[in-house]
């Protein structure tokens, strides 16, 4: 790759403390970048019929974004291509100045959750090989996610085990809008394989599971879709707990990505209260829901909630635990959280270290 194009970090940047970034979105400059790892059948079918999702459009998201590709307008690479498609420019604009020592790649729009599951399996595998070839090999700060065709959990487990011994891959990657709640036994082979290879399962906002985006139907606005990622993840996390995924796989770690975190305390209290009343139906749970969550769940921070006054944010993090949050920027997307400004709280050095890099080192495999 174009490593020689990498620019020298600025003097100011080099003085910053190293951080981890739990949510970076690389994209292809050209669709054909996947071709080396796709059979002719899938190259032809994608070209002929498209990668059809469970939403209306061939080449657009269900809700129009507020700006092109939902990305920063200053993130177009100077050599052309869409935002997030150039490693040299990502290095120059983000990795170097923010002093990212560990960046987790979470590719979107690759082929997860397609109507055609065989196509999904093929595209996810191509995505994984592409991450290694285009991103982790040329920049050792970056680590890849095993992108899985999660609506076929058996195929997903196979894909996870394929990278069991590949140190470039540090988490399993799902999207949160699944066709069934995340805890459904349908998905258990994914969790079993992830626990076996020691990777956390990251569940990122977005996806099209085919269910209306709220329990009251499809909303009208992109704003509602964005806010709604939090509700989808809350339902997903409640399902993981109640359906016994954490009880069944005690070494499994889950990371809830890009759907906020301040909702977690209230959800946890509600789960505990409801479970105390209703535990007859879930004898597989031997501990309070809050205990499973406290031990086995992490959250990435972007988009960080911004209460006024900011001390309320500290209350929320205190309830969740300073050891549970993984800093993330969401580069190159529009709602990027800048590490220099996004946690406007007075915090201790230990809290800062945990928040910006320590927790990431504890949760991702082998970093």
């Amino acid at each position: 790759m174009n490593v020689q194009a990498r620019q020298t970090p600025t003097a100011a940047a080099s003085s910053k403390l190293a951080i981890a970034d739990g949510d970076i979105h690389p994209t292809r400059k050209l669709a054909s970048e996947f071709d080396p790892w796709l059979d002719k059948r899938w190259r032809d079918d994608v070209a002929t019929f498209g990668a059809r999702q469970r939403q209306p459009w061939q080449n657009a998201p269900a809700y129009p974004k507020a700006q092109p590709n939902a990305s920063r307008r200053d993130a177009y690479p100077p050599e052309g291509g869409r935002q997030g498609s150039s490693l040299p420019f990502m290095q120059q604009q983000h990795l170097d100045p923010a002093n990212v020592a560990l960046g987790i790649l979470n590719p979107l729009g690759t082929g997860q959750g397609l109507q055609n599951i065989d196509m999904s399996i093929a595209l996810c595998h191509a995505t994984n090989e592409w991450q290694q070839e285009y991103w982790t090999k040329p920049d050792r700060r970056l680590r890849a996610s095993v992108v899985v065709p999660y609506e076929d959990p058996i195929a997903s487990a196979k894909e996870i085990r394929r990278y069991a011994d590949n140190a470039d891959f540090v988490q399993v990657f799902m999207l949160s809008r699944t066709s069934e709640p995340l805890g459904s036994r349908k998905y258990w082979p994914i969790y079993e394989a992830a626990a076996e290879v020691g990777m956390p399962v990251g569940v990122h906002a977005f996806g099209y599971g085919g269910n209306p985006m709220t329990p009251g139907g499809y909303p009208s606005y992109y704003t509602e879709e964005m806010v709604g990622h939090s509700q989808a993840q809350q339902s997903g996390l409640a399902s993981l707990v109640v359906e016994g995924v954490f009880a069944r796989f005690p070494s499994l770690k889950m990371i809830m990505i890009e759907a906020g975190f301040a909702w977690a305390p209230s959800l946890t209290w509600r789960l505990d209260n409801a479970w105390r009343r209703l535990k007859q139906e879930t004898p597989h749970l031997t501990r309070l829901p809050s205990e499973y969550i406290r031990d086995q769940v992490w959250w990435t921070t972007q988009p960080m909630e911004e209460p006024e006054p900011r001390t309320h944010l500290r209350d929320a993090i205190n309830w969740i635990g300073w050891d549970r949050l993984i800093f993330a920027t969401d580069y190159p997307h529009w709602d990027y959280d800048d590490p220099a400004t996004s946690l406007p709280l007075k915090i201790s050095e230990a809290e800062r270290e945990a928040f910006f890099i320590g927790n990431a080192r504890n949760v991702y495999r082998g970093v």
């Binding site: 599971g209 209306p212 909303p219 009208s220 704003t223 989808a232 209703l278």
Partner: protein
């Protein structure tokens, strides 16, 4: 532990129950009454509250004779009106009429429930007020139902389920809000789904526990919808009350909603105030279930995060099992906050409570 409330307290959410469909027959017109018999329609109790679930009725509130909990006035007087000393309790009848797929049938059944409520409950117990049941899938018929009862000041609210066929902010439902605002009726949104959509945004869960927990996410989505669609801009005097919604989720939800409103308001420019401001002027939430943290200090922090002592309305959620004894109000809340919840806030929310009823 027994906690007596100051005289005049108002309980904003209790659930008198339809014992069975036969009880509604006297209040149905033909052909609907005839169809109940001919088609063998026995019961419309919703899966939102399974009959024998511990949450559906607290053990010591279950009638010894195995009759349907909260289905007689004697039970309600004995269990909730007398022990709490409430001056007024608002009856929100939860019967599955909103889940009928036929708009006409749903509207006819809603009418029957309202007639039954007026005759069997309101006529007999002066401490009771009630919500008008409507089937929102047929907005024109729902407006007819509101107009049918609007003259009766004992009805103080129009009741919707939190999850129906379409998001509650959608324009197709605005005639309901217009009628409610015109008549000084609040819109009550109660936990429970019509089950015309999966009960979570990620599909049908396995366990009832998940269904119940997910009601809080449904309320979050609907609050988002009402605000983003501009319902409160169009109907600035409308009061919306979230019932059995939990409330500890509210601060974090508003933080997130406000953040995206700031970033994306070009999409919804009519939303000209911060979501938290809109909630403070137009939205209230019932107390039970508290969904609170285990410790008092954290609960006080949650109230602090709400940044208003006017949002919460006292409720027992009778006969649902949300607390034991008469400990409906969590320990350690400041006396002035309790006074607001039990007295001032309900009166400020339900304009009709200030009116004398015949």
């Amino acid at each position: 532990m027994t906690k007596s409330l100051a005289p005049g307290a108002i309980d904003c959410d209790i659930h008198p129950a339809v014992p069975d469909l036969a009880a509604l027959l006297p209040y149905m017109d033909d052909p609907w009454r005839e169809q109940v018999v001919v088609r063998g329609i026995d019961d419309l109790a919703s899966i939102a509250y399974p009959a024998n679930s511990p949450l559906t009725c607290r053990a010591d509130w279950r009638p010894a004779d195995k009759s349907v909990p909260a289905s007689s006035l004697a039970q309600i007087r004995r269990d909730v009106l007398d022990p709490f000393g409430t001056s007024i309790a608002i009856a929100n009848c939860l019967y599955g009429v909103q889940s009928l797929f036929s708009e006409d049938m749903a509207a006819a059944y809603a009418t029957a429930v309202n007639r039954w409520m007026a005759k069997e409950w309101l006529d007999k117990e002066p401490r009771l007020r009630a919500s008008i049941i409507v089937a929102a899938q047929g907005p024109e018929l729902a407006v007819d139902e509101i107009e049918r009862w609007a003259h009766d000041k004992r009805f103080v609210q129009v009741l919707l389920l939190v999850s129906g066929a379409t998001p509650l902010g959608k324009r197709s439902l605005w005639p309901i809000y217009r009628a409610a605002e015109k008549h000084g009726l609040a819109i009550g949104i109660h936990a429970g789904s019509a089950y015309h959509n999966p009960p979570t945004s990620v599909g049908w869960p396995t366990y009832y526990t998940e269904d119940y927990v997910s009601q809080a996410q449904a309320f979050q989505s609907q609050l988002t919808s009402l605000i983003c669609e501009g319902v409160f801009n169009k109907f600035p005097d409308l009061k919306v009350v979230l019932l059995e919604s939990g409330f500890t989720w509210l601060p974090a939800h508003l933080w997130r909603l406000t953040k995206f409103w700031r970033g994306l308001r070009m999409e919804i420019p009519w939303v000209d105030r911060a979501p938290a401001d809109i909630v403070r002027s137009n939205v209230r939430l019932s107390l039970q279930p508290v969904d609170g943290p285990p410790d008092r200090d954290s609960l006080l922090k949650v109230f602090d995060h709400m940044q208003s002592d006017e949002l919460i309305l006292f409720s027992t959620d009778y006969p649902h099992w949300q607390f034991d004894g008469t400990a409906a109000i969590p320990d350690g809340l400041p006396a002035d906050l309790v006074r607001k919840m039990t007295h001032d806030n309900p009166r400020a929310t339900y304009a009709r409570l200030l009116e004398t009823v015949a």
